[in-house]
């Protein structure tokens, strides 16, 4: 499984990972190598095997819908890189 430069560029975009050309090339080589090692899975017959998403057989976990205090606003905002008027400040979404 050899990845192309364009494929790697596309994955980086999907993951919103800014990457230099040099990084992309290194990812291309390493990911191709790793994906090749995954090909062993194609040897396994899984035609009638259901997938397992997690290993405890819990389903539909719900809790009582009760009001409880949340963390103080000031504590939540204390880690904000940028804030304004008590809100997280983000950059322009639309140009």
């Amino acid at each position: 499984m050899k990845l192309s430069h364009e494929e790697v560029e596309h994955i980086a975009l999907l993951a919103r990972l800014g990457s230099s050309e040099e990084e992309l090339e290194r990812f291309r080589e390493q990911l191709s190598h790793i994906l090749e090692s995954f090909e062993v899975l194609q040897q396994v017959d899984t035609a009638d095997v259901p997938p397992t998403a997690q290993s405890v057989d819990l389903q539909d976990v719900v809790r009582a819908d009760e009001v409880s205090p949340s963390l103080p606003h000031s504590q939540i905002m204390a880690n904000a890189p940028q804030q304004e008027a008590g809100c997280f400040r983000v950059r322009a979404v639309l140009e």
Binding site: A15, R16, S19, F38, V44, V49, L58, A80, R91, A92
Partner: protein, 488 residues
């Protein structure tokens, strides 16, 4: 053997001295705090040390003890892997992305320890976001193995394992997604348990791969492991994957014989690439289990084991790529300032905030989940996961427990595998299948090869921690390995 230094005490030894007022928590804490600067220049186990907090907590613990309010963990120093949220104390995941992040709340396990009067001495170094097998992926510095500082301590909970082995704490907590407690426990000759998936609440554990992550203890012996499990286990409505299975008193299972215990040895764990000296140590350790009364059958087969590596390195990065999408530079953590517009800020934040292995796994996971590849990779891996789980279930119809090496080799050299991700991934080959199946696994000291530790891994069916601890305890009582301390 002379009188041990206070920092070398186990939890149960220290507790006895505290309970009989021969020792105060403050004295014990000072002994640990004095040990840290002696060995830290060689080891680098800590991202953060919390001296002042530790002294305050020790004084409070001494007041509680004086008032007769005491549990086995009261007044005992602990180190926490730096991916568990500690209110008011930086929690970095050894990543630039979370440098300076101060959690506004405690993880569930921290709440439980605090409620009993534990003493926090620091937060330990780890592979960035718990992705790695050597602690070399920390964005800050490399942690060295106390048995040979030119070698890795294992990972990702390397700092926690080193701190326990070197007497920089009495015990520690780690997290285990594919071996991150057991492999460093094996490499540092301490006891490490990955509990059954759902046994310990992960509320406040920074998420890596949500269907695999578990928190567990790293301790100096099996009794301590049981004592910590008594406290951290149990249902928590804030972690929807935690299970309402009753929590026993794990210390009651610590009996020193193995009469009637049926143990299987899966042949796939004695793989090509395994060091012959490690195999020899394992054979001798398994012989000891027979002497203790267990029946052992060699050559048990779990035929899907060779596929576990690929299954793991599809599922874990896929889940990680989703979990790590939250790091956008807006709400907390690192935020690139030299950017134009939202997307550019996000891409630059993630480019400069994440290290190479984290990026590699995000890329891998994003690819495995992307349109056109989902069925071939992620879904396929989940189906093979079912087979791996079934084979364990079948083996446990015949056997009470399975025994394997924790790692195929002794600790490897620093730098030896950093340039070859696939070789690094292979060092977890004996521990990954356990997370895939969600079963518990205990690693404990099984001997040494030229002064380097070898770990033995004991596996059981879901919620069989008591039996694993019993086997570990019986073995430990009959062997001297857990009493050896690294030459520092």
């Amino acid at each position: 053997m002379g009188e041990p230094n206070l920092y070398q005490l186990t939890i149960h030894e220290a507790h006895q001295l505290l309970a009989s007022r021969q020792l105060s928590s403050f004295e014990l804490t000072e002994a640990v705090l004095a040990r840290i600067p002696q060995v830290e220049p060689q080891l680098h186990a800590f991202v953060t040390t919390t001296h002042d907090l530790a002294r305050n907590q020790a004084r409070e613990a001494d007041e509680r003890i004086a008032g007769g309010d005491m549990s086995p963990l009261t007044g005992i120093p602990v180190v926490i892997k730096d991916n568990m949220c500690t209110k008011g104390i930086a929690t970095t995941c050894s990543s630039r992305m979370l440098e300076g992040f101060v959690p506004p709340y405690d993880a569930a396990v921290i709440e439980k320890l605090n409620a009993l009067g534990a003493v926090l001495v620091g937060k330990s170094n780890m592979d960035e976001f718990a992705m790695g097998s050597s602690t070399e992926n920390s964005a800050f510095f490399i942690t060295n193995n106390p048995w040979d500082i030119s070698r890795v301590p294992g990972g990702s909970s390397g700092g926690s394992a080193v701190a326990v082995a070197a007497g920089e704490t009495i015990y520690a907590l780690g997290s285990d997604t594919g071996g991150s407690i057991r492999q460093p426990a094996g490499f540092c000759s301490v006891v490490g348990l990955k509990p059954t998936y759902g046994r310990v609440s992960r509320y406040g554990l920074v998420a890596f791969a949500s269907s695999l992550d578990q928190i567990g203890p790293l301790t100096k012996d099996v009794t301590d492991c049981a004592l910590v499990m008594n406290v951290i286990s149990g249902h928590d409505p804030r972690d929807a994957t935690s299970v309402s299975h009753p929590v026993p008193d794990y210390t009651r299972s610590l009996i020193p014989d193995l009469d009637g215990i049926r143990i299987g040895v899966p042949q796939e764990y004695f793989v090509a690439g395994m060091q012959p000296e490690v195999e020899a140590v394992m054979r001798s350790a398994i012989g000891k289990l027979v002497e203790l009364g267990a029946s052992v059958e060699w050559g048990v087969s779990l035929p899907s084991t060779p596929y576990a590596l690929a299954v793991y390195y599809i599922i874990a990065p896929s889940e990680a790529s989703a979990n790590l999408a939250r790091y956008d530079g807006v709400k907390y953590g690192f935020s690139a300032q030299d950017a134009e517009g939202m997307w550019d800020a996000m891409e630059k934040t993630r480019q400069h905030g994440f290290g190479p292995e984290v990026k590699r796994r995000i890329m891998l996971g994003t690819y495995a989940l992307s349109a056109g590849y989902y069925d071939a990779y992620y879904l396929k891996a989940q189906r093979v996961r079912t087979l791996i789980r079934r084979e364990f279930d079948q083996a446990f119809e015949q056997f009470d427990a399975l025994v394997t090496p924790t790692s195929p080799t002794v600790p490897f050299g620093i730098g030896e595998k950093v340039d070859d991700p696939l070789q690094m991934y292979l060092s977890d080959v004996c521990t990954l299948p356990i997370n895939i199946a969600g079963i518990p696994g205990l690693s404990l000291p099984a001997g040494f090869v030229d002064g380097l530790p070898v770990g033995m891994q004991i596996l059981g069916r879901p919620f069989s921690e008591e039996l694993l601890l019993r086997i570990g305890f019986a073995y430990e009582q009959a062997t001297p390995w857990h009493e050896r301390r690294p030459p520092l």
